[in-house]
């Protein structure tokens, strides 16, 4: 492959080679018809396609359960990924096990691909603790709330891998709104210059809370932003699991081979509210939602599998049952889950013990003892 990045800044780089295609890559029609594209081979066998379908079904069911738990007062808030299952699951599917994922706060689908227990993530939304999974075990970083900031962590991590000649790639997820923040831009600048093997995966779900894409950017597409950093910009139909997989795979393997970072814009739609605290009826119509529902990623892959006789009723039922079991497990773990020991608040702030924090811990311990006495007295 031509070493484009070495020519960056010299004026020799052919900028058109970095531009996204006129149309997003699209392989699977809503009715399940597959249009093969030699530039974007899918290369998934039938068993893998079924697994992809199964994982999206589990994602949707667990996501629904989280919303239910919030409605019942068990979570303070929750950010649903309804409608974005293909964008998340199929992109994460394109990674090797050793590759790292840096999520925002909406990436339940990617987490499930990485075997992160959804309940561990939901503790953040319940307020029992801030996180509860081991990032190193799952190669899945902590959920990141400040928009786009994790793009720099993914880039730094990828720089480290490159320095070590460690052939891993990082993928960072952020949204259309995130492309307006400064950190993803600094991250793409660094990644380009440092040739960091990182893929910037933008889920363009059309809204940043209430603000539509047209008010977010005047760029022709979000993928066009890549050229400013010497990165190729790719675009795919993010509700098309096969296109998402193929495009991500291509970007990831390109980065792994040492050809540098890339930006992917996956076009999708946030079917739910921004979070359970949001009221989307104030900014979008039922008609718009109904039109978006016609592009549903799960229906699309199901149609494809049905058309090819790869999915029968029994298998479908088995997937649904398993998804229900997973949802129940999440419910069991979260429902009325107690918060931890308040004194633990002091335990992880620093590695090295600090006398001032130890003293404040003692203050809280004394307060707790007094409270217990008071409660005892009242009883």
């Amino acid at each position: 492959m031509v070493d484009d990045l070495q020519r960056a800044g010299s004026g020799q780089l052919d900028p058109t080679s970095l531009l996204p295609p006129a149309e997003p890559v699209h392989l699977l029609d809503p009715d399940g018809t597959l249009h093969e594209d030699p530039d974007h081979p899918v290369g998934l066998d039938d068993a893998a396609l079924l697994e992809l379908h199964r994982t999206m079904i589990i994602t949707r069911r667990v996501d629904r359960e989280a919303i239910n738990l919030q409605r019942q007062g068990q979570l303070g808030v929750y950010a649903s990924c309804l409608g974005q299952e293909a964008a998340q699951v199929a992109s994460a599917w394109a990674l090797q096990d050793e590759d790292w994922i840096f999520p925002s706060y909406r990436e339940l689908g990617a987490a499930i691909v990485r075997d992160v227990d959804p309940a561990d993530l939901l503790h953040l939304f319940r307020g029992t603790w801030l996180s509860d999974h081991d990032p190193y075990e799952h190669r899945f970083a902590l959920l990141s709330i400040p928009i786009g900031t994790q793009a720099l962590h993914a880039t730094g991590f990828a720089m480290g891998a490159r320095f070590d000649d460690n052939p891993i790639v990082t993928v960072v997820y952020f949204g259309d709104g995130g492309t307006s923040e400064g950190d993803p831009h600094e991250a793409m600048t660094f990644a380009g210059v440092m040739r960091a093997p990182v893929v910037f995966f933008v889920q363009n779900n059309q809204y940043a809370i209430s603000v539509p894409l047209a008010k977010q950017t005047a760029a022709p597409t979000l993928a066009h932003k890549a050229i400013g950093y010497g990165l190729p910009g790719y675009r795919c139909d993010g509700n098309d699991p096969l296109a998402t997989y193929a495009v991500t795979r291509r970007a990831v393997e390109r980065a792994r081979a040492g050809h540098g970072p890339a930006l992917i814009e996956a076009l999708t739609y946030r079917m739910e509210a921004h979070t359970t605290s949001d009221d989307p009826s104030r900014y979008r119509s039922d008609e718009e939602l109904e039109a978006a529902a016609l592009t549903d990623p799960i229906v699309r892959l199901r149609n494809h599998l049905r058309n090819r006789d790869l999915l029968d009723d029994a298998t479908e039922r088995r997937f649904e049952e398993e998804a229900a079991e997973r949802a129940q497990a999440v419910r069991d773990a979260i429902y009325d889950a107690p918060h931890g020991d308040p004194l633990e608040l002091f335990d992880h702030v620093y590695v090295a013990p600090r006398a001032d924090l130890a003293a404040q811990r003692d203050e809280l311990r004394a307060e707790l003892a007094r409270r217990e006495d008071d409660d005892g007295g009242a009883a």
Binding site: P146, H153, M159, G160, D164, G182, F190
Partner: protein, 323 residues
Amino acid sequence: MTVTLAQAINRALTDAMAEDDRVLVFGEDVGRLGGVFRVTDGLQSRFGEQRCFDTPLAESGIIGTAIGLAIYGYRPVAEMQFDGFTYPAFEQLVSHLAKLRNRSRGTLTLPVTVRIPYGGGIGAGEHHSESPESYWVHTAGLTVVSPGTPDDGYAMVREAIASDDPVIVMEPKRRYWMKADIELPVTAPPAHEALVRREGTDVTIVCYGPMVRTALDAAEAAEEEGWSLEVLDLRSLSPMDTEAIVASVQRTGRAIVVHEAGRSLGLGAEVAARVQEAAFYHLEAPVLRATGFDTPYPPAKLEGYWLPDVDRILDLVERSLAY
């Protein structure tokens, strides 16, 4: 051997990089140029472009990628070129570098050192002369130190790099050329221990970083007035060695805190609060503060009116003794 603060820090970086190949030094102009203050001089030629490198001009990028490198397993030493340039990195410093360990319930360890040349007195004006240490001290999860001598420059930078916690090293840029007759490598007490730089009996001068030299000069001048000042160098701003402050104030009964940063919610406020909590009955006078004013940093030609100096300290000594 005569060693400047800048040379001492340079040697600390060199020794740390030689001992541990996971130590990386990066920032704006730190590579080929050796840093605008030459503190990283020679590191790139000795250790190569992968261990000491220039970054794009983006401070949030510097701290954010340092976090990623640390999660990967490196031990990054990031330079912020000037105090006033840390503000673009504020979110990464405050929301992530300081908090990720706590957020991960102790799973993530971020052994990141952030070096910040700070303070005024070099005629450099706004953005290049600021004292933002209160922001970092107020942020749970950060350790903040400030060397006031070349020995401490060496020892504190070594300690910061060796620490598994993120450490902000506030380097008093006007003292980069301050000399000491020392043999490197030197050892020093751990940074969280404040040190009495000069013993005295009348008033405790609490200071750190660039004001250590100023306070010592004030103590020298005070002697001519017949006043005996004790100079206490905090060294570490977070954690702060309350015991040492209190012990000194219990001896002298009086305290004056000196810092370049503006007065309101500067470290002087915290020192005064701790002293009145722990040594109320030992106080002969209120804790006073010799500081910069609560105005933006002045134009270079006016900084002499703004920065605390020997006279401002001595005026307060007189006031303190008059109670």
